[in-house]
């Protein structure tokens, strides 16, 4: 950990009971996010990334486990969460088209968090909103009275970022903030987020399925598969020597655009199988059905998280003092 942890998640579990059975969306995960860090949470669809984020923001109360933010426990229902925490922890959603109310002007959208959290006197709020828009690079005179549908996707996401920053938070969850956008717009949003992170001392939990993007923004990367974490490592180390077989499969599947990148990818691992349903998780290690290096033990015993040196944990029988390596 490069800095003192601002957010600690310990043994977080979130299950959803459904008619077809229990959906184990998040199944016992633990991680920490240091102050000023950007933790990249990467996984395929259905791996539980968004549920994790929603537990942290408070949209769902966890089934069990502990989430603490700057020392105070926040794993309770959203309506019982302290207002100060709601102000400190904010979220930017994936699709700005559906997270902004189409019937409201940008001024109305931005005024909500200010009113709720009592920021500024009513007469000062127009100035605050203008400053927020300037901060994300949108000229306020042009945008304050527009509706979301009359601006582009990238600009909508900038408004969503301005709304998240309206309460002056310390921690922002970015739930796939650019995956609905084109690459030429993505660059602008990412650079904006990184600049704001520096200026406002923000800590990010950056959720995405794009590992190439993670390489460029995250300081640490956590890989999630079927509700569990597979590997956490510092970004440079992670890309230099990925450990978990799933991580290597992910990396070798990325389509790249240059020859240098091709050389950085691990030796081709043939991607096989699909992510199983979270209702019916295979016994043992949940990845063993797709794993090219599966051992007999993998179908029986679920591996524990183990530390491989500083800031690096892997959950796989191939490493450390797993029963099969003793």
């Amino acid at each position: 950990m490069s800095a003192t942890p601002i957010l600690t998640v310990e043994n977080l579990v979130k299950h959803f009971p459904t008619k077809r059975g229990l959906v184990r969306a998040v199944d016992d995960i633990s991680f920490q996010v240091g102050k000023r860090d950007t933790l990249g949470l990467v996984g395929e669809s259905g791996s539980g990334k968004t549920t994790t984020a929603q537990c942290i923001v408070g949209i769902y109360p966890p089934t069990s486990g502990v989430i603490s933010f700057e020392g105070s426990l926040i794993g309770v229902k959203f309506n019982r969460r302290e207002k100060r925490l709601k102000q400190q922890i904010r979220i930017v959603f994936q699709d700005p088209g559906s997270s902004l109310n189409p019937k409201r002007t940008i001024k109305q959208i931005l005024s909500v968090p200010l009113k709720v959290h009592g920021i500024g006197q009513p007469r000062d709020r127009l100035g605050i909103m203008s400053r927020l828009l300037e901060m994300v690079g949108l000229p306020p005179s042009e945008y304050l009275y527009k509706h979301p549908q009359s601006i582009g996707g990238g600009e909508k996401q900038m408004v969503a970022i301005a709304r998240a920053l309206a309460t002056n938070p310390g921690f922002v969850v970015l739930d796939e903030p650019t995956s609905a956008l084109d690459v030429s717009v993505q660059g602008k949003i990412i650079n904006l987020l990184m600049r704001l992170g520096d200026e406002l001392d923000l800590t990010y939990l950056f959720i995405t399925h794009d590992l190439s993007l993670m390489r460029n923004v995250a300081s640490r990367v956590a890989i999630m598969y079927l509700g569990k974490l597979c590997e956490i490592a510092r970004t440079d180390e992670f890309f230099r020597s990925p450990k978990h077989p799933y991580t290597r499969m992910l990396l070798s599947s990325i389509p790249v655009v240059t020859e240098e990148e091709e050389l950085l990818k691990p030796k081709k691992i043939v991607s096989q199988g699909e992510i199983p349903s979270p209702v019916d998780i295979p016994p043992g290690c949940s990845f063993h059905l797709r794993c090219p290096e599966a051992l007999p033990i993998c179908s029986e015993i679920d591996p524990e998280m183990q530390s491989l040196g500083e800031e690096r944990v892997v959950r796989c029988h191939l490493y450390g003092d797993s029963p099969c390596n003793r």
Partner: protein, 329 residues
């Protein structure tokens, strides 16, 4: 240059809507040779899908209007074909895979019903009538070839019961069950996870190879076309702005738009991401005069604002529609 299978010449397509006339395709030139794989890359709203739909003649008209140009398939103009000829062409020669398999599959019929229809009908079109057993076997074979583990069971499933990757495999099976010569793949893996994308593209690659078919691959992902295509066309605001051999083009982009696009793609080497391209795609009701990219271009000159650039030869087999590389004579 192999014989041309598909040759699009100066295609103009517009849409007449309440707000005015959208001039979307603005002189698209594109060709696909026999047995060749060609990529068409561009961002949202640049006219990629309109191009595919024009080739298949499935654009809703109105509001769409083809205002100029030709689409030659083996030398015959698709746009002038009668209904029957067009049906025959779609049945035997052209085939397509779209982005969202849930929209291309019928939700109320099983996969088996839908596949049997295609396999049976295409045989009838060729003047053969297959027995039910043969059709069934062909369907199962087609599903197996896409890497589907349990083809017999899948035949009895409804689309909603399958995962996204499985549905896309069904679409590929449908598309490739008819021995079509030209496959139009419109963002076939955009909705899928990378590991599934990798599996599906690899299978598609092998199947196309076996059939010696041609492919026009439409996508917004540079990485996907790099592995799968030999030639690449970059599209911006309704026209091709750069064309060349895929590797040459990606390693050494010439058009300012392509350069901006390549710089915005996050790389595994981790040198950071550029600020992207300023501005956004133009309004098609009143597109900019001259080069449609000029309002966003850092290299714009006076001529860019008045005349639209043709494709200039930059390097061997590599052309860019930009006045940086030539002047109108």
């Amino acid at each position: 240059m192999p014989d041309l299978l598909l040759d699009i010449k100066n295609l103009h397509v517009g849409f007449r809507i309440f707000e005015g006339n959208l001039q979307v395709l603005n002189g698209v030139r594109l060709d696909v040779g026999e047995g060749e794989r060609v990529g068409l890359v561009g961002e949202t709203g640049c006219g990629k899908t309109t191009t595919v739909k024009s080739i298949l003649r499935v654009l809703p008209m109105p509001p769409a209007r083809i205002t100029g140009g030709e689409i030659l398939y083996r030398g015959r103009d698709i746009l002038k074909m009668g209904k029957r000829q067009m049906q025959a062409l779609r049945r035997h020669e052209l085939t397509a895979i779209f982005q969202d398999p849930l929209q291309s599959l019928n939700p109320v019929f099983t996969i088996g019903t839908q596949l049997r229809d295609i396999v049976g009908d295409s045989a009838i079109g060729q003047g053969k009538r297959l027995s039910r057993r043969v059709v069934e076997a062909k369907c199962i074979e087609a599903l197996r070839q896409t890497g589907m583990p349990d083809a017999e069971r899948i035949m009895t499933n409804y689309p909603i019961q399958l995962s996204g990757g499985m549905r896309q495999r069904v679409c590929i099976a449908e598309a490739l069950s008819t021995n079509a010569r030209l496959l139009l793949a419109d963002e076939p893996t955009t909705n899928l996870d990378v590991t599934i994308q990798d599996q599906i593209l690899r299978r598609l690659d092998e199947l196309v190879d076996e059939r010696d078919a041609s492919v026009l691959m439409i996508t917004h992902s540079m990485g996907v076309v790099r592995d799968l295509t030999q030639r690449l066309n970059i599209m911006y605001a309704g026209s091709i702005v750069e064309a060349g051999r895929t590797k040459d083009l990606l390693d050494n982009p010439q058009h300012p738009y392509t350069q901006g696009l390549m710089a915005s793609v996050p790389k595994l080497t981790g040198e950071g991401i550029s600020e992207g391209i300023p501005g956004r795609i133009p309004n098609y009701i009143e597109p900019p005069r001259g080069c449609r990219f000029h309002p966003r271009c850092a290299h714009r000159m006076d001529v860019c604002e008045s005349e639209s650039p043709p494709l200039f030869d930059v390097l061997e087999g590599h052309r860019a529609a930009c006045y940086l590389y030539g002047r109108n004579t």
